[in-house]
């Protein structure tokens, strides 16, 4: 049976849904094990056991977070060899993809990113060219590295839990030498809203919001949605770059995408056109966004959005 190693970087106090999804995929592909970095809290260890992890690997070094990518890739390569894994699964964040990238070179392993499904034989499903093509791809090497997008599978604990032992993996001492050092970190204020990449609903604004995201935030909070933005809005400095959706920002595929004051140029569409349902509000009836909207409103977002927010609150009593 294939050994599948799931990499979880800083599991924290409780595992993220995306990590549970990786564990669920891992069981469908073979025998799962976990390589983590950072602290392992008791609650997390219990969840890993409930999800069927057969072994846990931890790094001999405690300072991997002080460096960018390189040492984590070196640790993971050592963990793959110790575990004898032939499939490695990581999340799909920018850093995780880069760790996967360097791991691939170290192991001579093919790397497939942005995976949304994996068949038992290792064939991965993904989209390319801004969501305009769906493809299947496979690593042709003895080891395959897959970075998996969130919301790709429903997390399910194993039928039978495990009691995995923790094994310490030596991180090569040379790993940090040719690496960039992270000298300071500024935490961004938490919005209390869901993570943009994982949100079921996204409310996004563009040039038309004219610096005022207030009505979008009110609607987002009524719907339990995340806030996104077009490049025009982030370039104007109205909202942080981490909210940017599109070719040079994030790609999202929520159940519902509400686009407000965004014209819908191709670079924007690239980040959201695989959303299940698209609603668009824009003053300009000629905006390209209306070509792909399931429900479009030609109107003033500062009137339409607050009215919708009120109506939702009214319906919920």
């Amino acid at each position: 049976m294939a050994k599948v190693l799931v990499f979880i970087d800083n599991p924290g106090q409780a595992l993220k849904k995306a990590s549970l999804e990786l564990l669920t995929f891992a069981r469908s592909l073979g025998e799962p094990a976990v390589a983590f970095n950072g602290e392992l809290h008791d609650g997390v260890a219990e969840t890993l056991a409930a999800y069927g992890a057969q072994a846990l690997y931890r790094p001999s070094a405690a300072d991997l977070d002080d460096y960018l990518v390189g040492p984590k890739a070196a640790y993971l390569a050592a963990a793959v060899q110790t575990a004898g894994a032939t499939i490695v699964l990581t999340e799909n964040s920018a850093e995780a993809k880069e760790i996967a990238a360097r791991l691939g070179i170290r192991l001579g392993a093919g790397v497939i990113t942005d995976v949304v499904g994996v068949e038992p034989g290792g064939t991965a499903h993904k989209s390319v060219l801004a969501g305009s093509y769906t493809t299947t791809a496979k690593a042709t090497t003895p080891v395959a590295v897959l970075t998996v997008k969130p919301n790709s599978i429903t997390p399910e604990p194993a039928v039978t839990g495990t009691a995995p032992a923790t094994v310490t993996v030596d991180v090569p001492e040379t790993a940090a030498a040719a690496s960039a050092r992270i000298t300071s970190r500024t935490e961004k204020a938490a919005s209390g809203r869901p993570d943009l990449g994982e949100a079921r609903i996204v409310v996004a604004g563009g040039r038309g919001v004219d610096g005022n995201f207030g009505p979008l935030e009110d609607l987002a909070d009524a719907l339990g949605a995340a806030i996104g933005a077009s490049r025009a809005a982030t370039d104007a400095g109205w909202i942080g770059h981490d909210a940017q959706i599109g070719q040079t920002g994030k790609t999202v595929a929520p159940q519902l995408y509400i686009s407000a004051g965004i014209s819908g140029a191709i670079q924007q569409k690239a980040g959201m056109q695989t959303a299940k349902v698209i609603v668009a509000v824009n003053k300009d009836a000629e905006s390209p966004i209306f070509e792909i909207a399931d429900f479009g409103i030609v109107g003033d977002l500062f009137k339409v959005l607050p009215q919708a927010t009120e109506e939702i609150k009214k319906r919920r009593g």
């Binding site: 960018l68 964040s93 070179i105 093919g110 060219l129 769906t134 981490d242 070509e291 409103i297 030609v298």
Partner: protein, 202 residues
């Protein structure tokens, strides 16, 4: 690196200020995945730096087709260089590089000693446009075309054959079609909510 037509990108780089261009082009490169692409680029960089190695290698953040963002990290791994990736601001002070890297929950300041590899996001600056002077000056600059043989890469290591991943199937996603479009007559917000309720999205 790219087919014959990619030389236009090299020309544009010269027009906006680069002093010399190199175009790695070889039929055997077609179909290269990220691993094969990084192998060819690493070999080209070593070839160009045989006498004077590069201090700084700058790349973009992702291609617009595969959008994997793998190549900069893989290039750094192959060249054994520190990677300073997804930089939104960059400063160079002597032999030391300082960059800002924005994450979802935090922003990092990252430092590395040269030589290093840096990939930048679209936040890094506003690219200048080629002006007449630049276009004229570019005509006097050199573009060197390199083949795989020039950089000592076996064609079997790159292209479809040398890649570590293979695309098995590709299917065009059905084009999205427009749905219901209404013009606000004072009640569009309520109609929006009715639509969401009908779609069971509330």
């Amino acid at each position: 690196m790219g087919p014959a037509g990619a030389v236009n990108a090299v020309k544009k780089s010269l027009q906006i200020g680069a002093s010399e261009g190199v175009h790695l082009s070889d039929d055997a490169l077609a179909g290269s995945d990220a691993a094969a692409t990084s192998l060819a680029l690493a070999a080209a960089i070593r070839h160009l730096g045989a006498d004077t190695p590069a201090d700084l290698i700058l790349t973009g953040m992702a291609s617009t087709d595969g959008e994997t963002s793998l190549v900069p990290a893989q290039l750094a791994e192959r060249l054994n260089l520190p990677q300073v990736t997804f930089a939104s601001a960059l400063e160079l002070d002597g032999g030391k590089l300082t960059a800002r890297r924005d994450g979802d929950t935090h922003a990092d300041t990252v430092e590395a000693a040269l030589p290093a590899l840096v990939s930048v996001t679209d936040q890094i600056n506003d690219p200048r446009y080629p002006n007449f002077k630049g276009i004229m000056a570019a005509k006097k600059k050199t573009i060197t075309t390199l083949s795989l043989a020039d950089i000592g890469v076996d064609p079997a290591q790159v292209g479809r054959a040398g890649s570590w991943t293979a695309v098995e199937t590709a299917e065009a996603r059905p084009a999205r079609t427009a749905g219901t479009i209404i013009t606000d007559e004072g009640d569009a917000g309520i109609k929006l909510v009715e639509f969401l309720a009908a779609q069971k999205l509330l």
